[in-house]
């Protein structure tokens, strides 16, 4: 059987690709479209390294078929920075050294961004629960949580001062 011809919007751009049914959205992003920012950790929805936004919902792209993204809006880590200007979360992760090997970082940034868009002032507990599906095996959780809290503070201040 021929491959599926899929049209989707990825990071605001219309994209077309061919995929087989069993290819996940993560496979498509990385192998067909060259968007290798989303990482494969577990491939079973446990680690969150492949987190992307699908029609405004945070999902694991390893648990979405590529063909399911037909007509969908997908947002990946590649769309988080605006040109050369880093997102406040990316900036704060750098400043707080909230990463070691970096494999989990794209997933954490995408997931944390989704949280801050819903709740600009989350408590530490809310952040920890929201990010419970993002695993870091370098044991960097505390710095990651601090970085999200710091970025949230910066974003609120920026919003106030325009």
């Amino acid at each position: 059987m021929s491959k599926h011809h899929v049209s989707a919007t990825i990071n605001g751009e219309a994209v077309e690709y061919l995929c087989e049914t069993q290819q996940t959205l993560l496979d498509v992003l990385r192998d067909e479209l060259g968007l290798t920012g989303s990482k494969e950790g577990c491939g079973s929805g446990d680690c969150g390294a492949c987190s992307v936004m699908l029609n405004g919902r945070l999902v694991c792209s390893c648990l979405v078929l590529g063909v399911e993204a037909a007509g969908a809006e997908v947002a990946t880590i590649e769309g988080v920075a605006q040109g050369n200007s880093l997102h406040p979360l990316q900036q704060q992760f750098l400043e707080d050294a909230a990463l070691q090997c970096g494999i989990c970082t794209p997933g954490f940034i995408v997931a944390a961004k989704a949280l801050l868009e819903r709740n600009s002032n989350p408590t530490e507990t809310e952040i920890r629960y929201w990010l419970a599906g993002n695993l870091c095996r370098c044991t960097g959780y505390d710095k990651i949580i601090r970085a999200v809290m710091g970025a949230a503070t910066n974003m609120r201040q920026e919003a106030r001062h325009g």
């Binding site: 059987m1 599926h4 087989e20 049914t21 069993q22 996940t24 491939g43 079973s44 929805g45 446990d46 969150g48 987190s51 699908l54 919902r57 945070l58 999902v59 694991c60 390893c62 648990l63 979405v64 078929l65 063909v67 399911e68 037909a70 997931a111 989704a114 949280l115 629960y129 929201w130 990010l131 419970a132 599906g133 993002n134």
Partner: protein
């Protein structure tokens, strides 16, 4: 390997036709949080995947005089955002929310959690306690069934070839009703229930229990409705004596496995403890509405 075919029908009838016409093994795809893991592990090798999320009816949430109707493919995050459902059925919503991470909540569905047929599925005891019924579509048309009649053993359901779940109805209850679901896991998040307990109850104007349902998860080959739990509460003010009987009924209903997550003795005892605690929460909620 043969290529896997994929279809995304727009209506229940088209989905039924796709399922009926397939010559190869078929899997229904809702949120995919179990199916994609099984596909990757090679545990299932379908020739056709029928994605039911394109069917509007399966993605709807409707609150009417008859009760709350929830499409089988509605995701946890979508249900959690419905304040009217959360207000009426906090126990069902909190059980659904316990499934997996934020990412999983963006996809996982009630229909999938039921049809995956795990004895430890969190939403299922809460649905059973709520008296939920499901609409099933298949080659012989539509039929209704109680949720407790769907799972028959680990990984097996009573659905016939070509059947799938369309929606769930949580029947409307009188005033002074409440429900709750609790599970035991050795951490606070991201784990599979060692024991789960759901309770739904209704009080009369004098605070006496007029109806109750108790359901347990992870203590038998399938989620259980425990009629003796209702007997323990109905006619009482849900006082200590009644709660003791409820806990005893819960423990007596258990036929759990012994594994690394919990021994038989532990699960049996904890089932009673959780049933009691869930009943206390359901009681508080019933008094508050």
């Amino acid at each position: 390997m043969e290529a896997i075919k994929y279809v995304r029908p727009n209506s229940v009838d088209d989905a039924v036709r796709s399922l009926a016409s397939a010559n190869e093994p078929v899997r229904v795809l809702a949120g995919g949080t179990d199916l994609l893991v099984q596909l990757r592990a090679g545990n299932v090798r379908p020739g056709l995947v029928v994605d039911i999320k394109g069917i509007a009816e399966l993605k709807q949430i409707q609150v009417t005089a008859a009760g709350c109707r929830i499409g089988a493919a509605v995701a946890g995050a979508e249900l959690s955002e419905r304040a009217d459902v959360v207000a009426q059925w906090p126990g069902v919503v909190e059980a659904f929310q316990l499934i997996g991470s934020t990412q999983i909540q963006g996809r996982a569905s009630l229909g999938g959690n039921l049809c995956n047929a795990s004895p430890a599925a969190d939403s299922v005891p809460a649905l059973i306690a709520a008296g939920a019924r499901c609409t099933i579509a298949g080659p012989a048309g539509r039929r209704e069934a109680a949720v407790e009649d769907i799972v028959i053993s680990p990984g097996k359901t009573s659905l016939a070839q070509g059947e799938f779940i369309v929606d769930f109805l949580l029947p409307a209850r009188p005033a002074h009703s409440g429900d709750a679901y609790l599970r035991f896991i050795p951490r606070t998040e991201m784990d599979i229930a060692v024991v789960g307990a759901g309770v739904s109850l209704t009080l009369d104007a004098n605070g006496r229990c007029t109806a109750a349902r108790l359901a347990l998860g992870a203590v038998a080959p399938r989620p259980l409705l425990v009629p003796a739990g209702a007997t323990a509460l109905v006619g009482t003010p849900v006082d200590n004596a009644a709660l003791e009987k409820l806990a005893a009924a819960a423990s007596a209903a258990c036929t759990p496995i012994d594994d690394k997550r919990g021994t038989i003795e532990f699960r049996t005892r904890v089932a009673g403890v959780l049933a009691r605690r869930a009943a206390v929460i359901a009681l508080q909620r019933a008094k508050g509405n």
